[in-house]
């Protein structure tokens, strides 16, 4: 039996390990699910996880190492766009396909690499979507924009700001912060400038603490964010009292809405003794896309192990249905052709669907 491996690159240690592990576990679940199908075709399917420590250099080294292992035919990763950019470049020469479950930065696919694909929305579609929601649904005239000073958060916030400005909304403040605990000065500023809405580009465990302090200071202004907020942990962190009026955009439908997602969440919890979060679902979806593509490539190759190039091309061309986040197909640069962006609303600690809208990447 021939061994076929897919790899994940994500932070498995350090402060972002929580999210990175979600991706790895999501992918693992997909591999577990598909292994029997591969077995039937005579392949032993394995997942090999790599830790990038959220560090570009480590991620690149991992990518080069992956490239050298001929059994690895595809990569799921990464969490951070900052890692994805150099890592995908390192994989490109060996035509090793990479499917990102999380990277939203425009640059990730703007470089036009043949191997780099993603199943999440780009910042320049997520941003305007968030901005539109703020204007149309929240009717905000004055918005305070925050970001976490990472490639992701700042990139996203910049897109939002751009879209808001274009529509004549006042930006009452725009700043980044690496602070994870004490937001008192920002809260004070918000109190002072009284915005109608707050946009925060970042990740839930920072934003959650922020919202908690915001609500603690008696400010009930709506807070809007991107896919970084897609976590079941968010309401817990914010606390019952304040977990209202929080919105975020994401490409994955709420897990409760889909029967498939329910099974996923259950088996995730069962396998890893850990509740599934948004990135677990994305990891699962990205791996599923990869595995489906692989199967297709195998079939196209007469049930023999395909080359990396075949896999890369197959995946870019294919269309995959029935994922947690809907149908996936990629455009010429690897952006997801069409996706639905769901705007979720956290009400009394529960995420409910607020609206949904279709998004498309700029190129097709």
């Amino acid at each position: 039996q021939t061994t076929i491996k897919i790899a994940t690159i994500s932070p498995l240690s350090g402060g972002q390990s929580n999210l990175g592990t979600q991706i790895r576990n999501g992918a693992q679940l997909a591999v577990n699910e598909y292994a029997p199908q591969f077995k039937k075709l005579g392949f032993n399917l394995q997942l090999v996880p790599y830790d990038d420590q959220a560090d570009p250099a480590t991620g690149t080294a991992a990518a080069r190492k992956i490239a050298a292992d001929n059994q690895i035919l595809a990569v799921v990763g990464t969490l951070n766009s900052g890692v994805a950019i150099p890592a995908s470049a390192a994989l490109a020469p060996s035509n090793l396909v990479m499917i990102s479950p999380a990277n939203t930065a425009n640059q990730v696919t703007d470089r036009g690499l043949a191997n780099m694909n993603r199943i999440v929305a780009r910042d320049d579609s997520q941003g305007p979507a968030g901005a539109n929601f703020i204007m149309d649904n929240l009717k905000a005239k004055k918005v305070y924009v925050l970001n976490d000073k990472t490639a992701y958060g700042e990139g996203l916030a910049a897109e939002v700001e751009k879209a808001l400005k274009a529509k004549g909304v006042t930006i009452s403040g725009s700043e980044g912060t690496e602070e994870k605990s004490d937001f008192s000065s920002i809260v004070a500023k918000i109190k002072l400038t009284r915005p109608d809405a707050i946009y925060f580009g970042g990740i839930y465990n920072q934003i959650g603490v922020f919202i908690k302090q915001l609500r603690g200071a008696g400010i009930t202004t709506p807070v809007v964010g991107g896919d970084g907020l897609d976590s079941s942990e968010l309401p817990t962190i914010v606390g019952k009292a304040g977990a209202n009026n929080i919105y975020y955009t994401t490409v994955a439908a709420p897990l409760e809405a889909l029967p498939a997602a329910k099974t996923f969440a259950a088996s995730f919890q069962k396998t890893f003794n850990n509740p599934a979060q948004g990135f677990g679902a994305f990891g699962y979806d990205a791996a599923t896309v990869t595995l489906k593509g692989l199967l297709e490539a195998i079939r196209a190759n007469g049930n023999k192990a395909p080359t990396r190039k075949m896999v890369q091309d197959t995946i870019r061309k294919g269309t995959y249905k029935g994922l947690l986040s809907g149908e996936v197909s990629f455009n010429s640069v690897g952006d997801r052709k069409a996706a639905t962006l769901y705007v979720m609303n956290i009400k009394d600690g529960k995420a409910v669907l607020e609206t949904s809208l279709p998004v498309k990447p700029p190129k097709n």
């Binding site: 498995l12 240690s13 350090g14 390990s17 592990t21 790895r24 576990n25 693992q28 394995q46 997942l47 090999v48 996880p49 790599y50 830790d51 420590q53 959220a54 560090d55 570009p56 250099a57 480590t58 690149t60 080294a61 991992a62 080069r64 190492k65 992956i66 490239a67 050298a68 001929n70 951070n80 900052g82 950019i85 150099p86 470049a89 390192a90 490109a92 020469p93 060996s94 930065a105 640059q107 470089r111 000073k149 990472t150 490639a151 958060g153 700042e154 990139g155 980044g176 690496e178 396998t271 890893f272 003794n273």
Partner: protein, 545 residues
């Protein structure tokens, strides 16, 4: 009590090393073959079960480590010089690139090791020789990386475009003013220095020197700004950065830029002692990172700069091509060779400085600042040289790093990196050149090969649950190894002789501070520790008389 064990002989018999030429060659051949085989898929396929063993990622990591140990043994073992030469050069110039042909990651790994080795060598000067604890060393690495990154990427075009659109009042006039200012201040600095050589420096002359320095900086900024503005017309032409031909010039520039930043940081802070210096350098390191994260125009902030160009050397490429390398490997191979040369240079400079009066001055101020000063060692100047030299090594490696990554962002220059480099220095053996290189190799191998290998090898072992997969606990494993190595070999893997002497100063004594110099960074003589201060109002020095 009668202490049972009889007295040890007073002098240890000098251990005569047997000649190991044969073993060295044998080891070289075996490990090279192993390396080449384990990185060649065809051969692995033909080896059957043995191939499976070699394919195991832990084994593979070990093979790589063993192979690199060659170079170490060639250095350590007593063997014929020709053998050492063959092994050293053969490993680095022949076998490794050859294996890199089938496994590019080996090249990447080696470059990374050597980058870290150069960083460790630079930090070793600052910490190991001069005894200045610098926890923000990675800042200089960042300076080097951005120096090249900004110019050799689309950023440069963006900057030019920005200044084209916002020239302010800058024009040819500014350029003239800037040039004059630069010339005048530089001239007066030279003059003051000359004066100080003849007449004793006074506070006034020191101050004027500083003032002139500030003026010079302003002048340079003005000149740079006007040049940028005046050349903004070519923004389109430079949309992808300057020509790779400038690579060599920037190699020098990155050294200078980092050294200048080293001086600028060093001037105010080097007066501080011990851990005050440590924390302030840590802080300044963070300042540089945060600046990189915020100066969006120049550094693209958190988004990072990409793609960063690299040198393109046609003859090298064609040579690599004829040797069977793929085009996508040319650049990596080129950087590998370059970094080999650079590390040789860095090492040479290190060794030569160490064995000069500057090296002696460093160690003297490390041992006892006051005595050193009283013996005519100028404290600030000596420390600044250490700081700037260390910084310049980091600068040039930063540039190579940028060229290798083709992407740089502030995340790569955080505090953890500084700490990592420091741990390489201490782990290898402070003050020992071979030691810190080994330290860098060990730590980098561990982080980039062995730990990932462990994670990968155990990923599909059924009895290891995913939650405790070693890949999840890299920090734990790395931390444990760090602690274990420090406990087992506090003097480092290849200790400096001087250090060992200090450390094993008296096993029979209750404590080493016996001699008042227990601390590696502590002044000799009387022990002056900060201690826990009292808060009595009246206990300023001076009695009641």
């Amino acid at each position: 009590m009668t202490v049972a064990n009889p007295a040890k002989p007073a002098v240890r018999p000098p251990t005569v090393q047997p000649d190991r030429t044969f073993w060295l060659m044998l080891f070289f051949i075996v490990s090279s073959v192993l390396l080449l085989v384990s990185h060649s898929p065809e051969m692995l396929r033909n080896l059957g079960p043995l191939g499976d063993v070699l394919r195991n990622k832990v084994i593979e990591a070990l093979v790589v480590s063993l192979f690199l140990a060659n170079v170490l043994f060639a250095y350590l073992w007593k063997a014929a010089n020709w053998a050492k030469l063959i092994v050293g050069l053969g490993s680095l110039l022949f076998v490794l690139p050859l294996a890199g042909q089938t496994d590019t990651s080996l090249l990447d790994l080696s470059i990374q090791i050597m980058i870290f080795a150069a960083l460790a060598l630079g930090l070793n000067i600052v910490v190991g020789l001069a005894g200045l604890l610098d926890l923000g060393y990675v800042a200089f690495f960042a300076v080097g990386a951005y120096t090249w990154g900004i110019f050799a990427s689309p950023r440069f075009g963006e900057v030019l475009r920005y200044y084209g659109e916002n020239p302010g009042s800058t024009g040819a006039g500014t350029l003239a003013i800037g040039l004059v200012l630069t010339a005048v201040t530089a001239g007066s600095m030279v003059y003051i220095k000359g004066l100080q050589a003849r007449v004793a420096p006074t506070r006034l002359s020191d101050r004027s020197f500083l003032l002139a320095g500030i003026g010079l900086l302003a002048g340079i900024i003005l000149v740079a700004r006007s040049i940028v503005v005046l050349s903004s017309g070519s923004a389109e032409a430079l949309a992808n950065g300057i020509s790779p031909g400038f690579f060599w010039l920037f190699l020098a520039l990155s050294i200078m830029a980092a050294a200048v930043v080293g001086l600028l940081i060093g001037l105010p802070v080097l007066k501080l002692k011990g851990d005050y210096l440590a924390i302030i350098t840590l802080g300044l390191g963070e300042v540089i990172r945060v600046l990189a994260n915020n100066l969006d125009l120049y550094t693209a902030g958190s988004q990072g700069i990409t793609p960063v160009g690299s040198a393109s050397v046609p003859w090298f490429n064609s040579l690599a091509g004829t040797l069977g390398f793929r085009p996508d490997q040319y650049n990596l191979l080129f950087l590998y060779m370059l970094v080999l040369v650079m590390i040789a240079v860095v090492l040479l400079v290190n060794v030569r400085l160490d064995q000069s009066r500057i090296g002696r001055a460093w160690i003297a101020i490390r041992d006892d600042e006051i005595a050193a000063q009283a013996m005519g060692v100028p404290l600030m100047q000596t420390k600044l040289i250490a700081f700037a030299t260390g910084a310049s090594f980091a600068g040039v490696m930063g540039m190579i790093f940028a060229a290798k990554q083709t992407f740089i962002s502030p995340e790569s220059f955080n505090l953890l990196q500084s700490i990592l480099v420091l741990s390489m220095v201490v782990l290898g053996g402070m003050g020992s050149f071979s030691g810190v290189i080994l330290g860098a190799a060990v730590v980098t191998l561990l982080n980039l090969r062995i730990l990932p290998g462990l994670g990968e090898a155990s990923a599909n072992v059924s009895w290891i649950p995913q939650e405790v997969n070693p890949a999840n606990y890299n920090r734990f494993i790395f931390g444990s190894i760090l602690v274990a190595m420090m406990l087992l070999r506090p003097e480092g893997l290849l200790p400096n002789k001087r250090r060992t002497r200090e450390l094993h100063h008296g096993e029979d004594q209750e404590d080493e501070s016996e001699d008042g110099n227990a601390g590696g960074l502590k002044a000799g003589g009387d022990v002056y520790s900060a201690g826990l201060a009292t808060i009595k109002e009246d206990d300023r020095p001076g009695g009641s008389r």
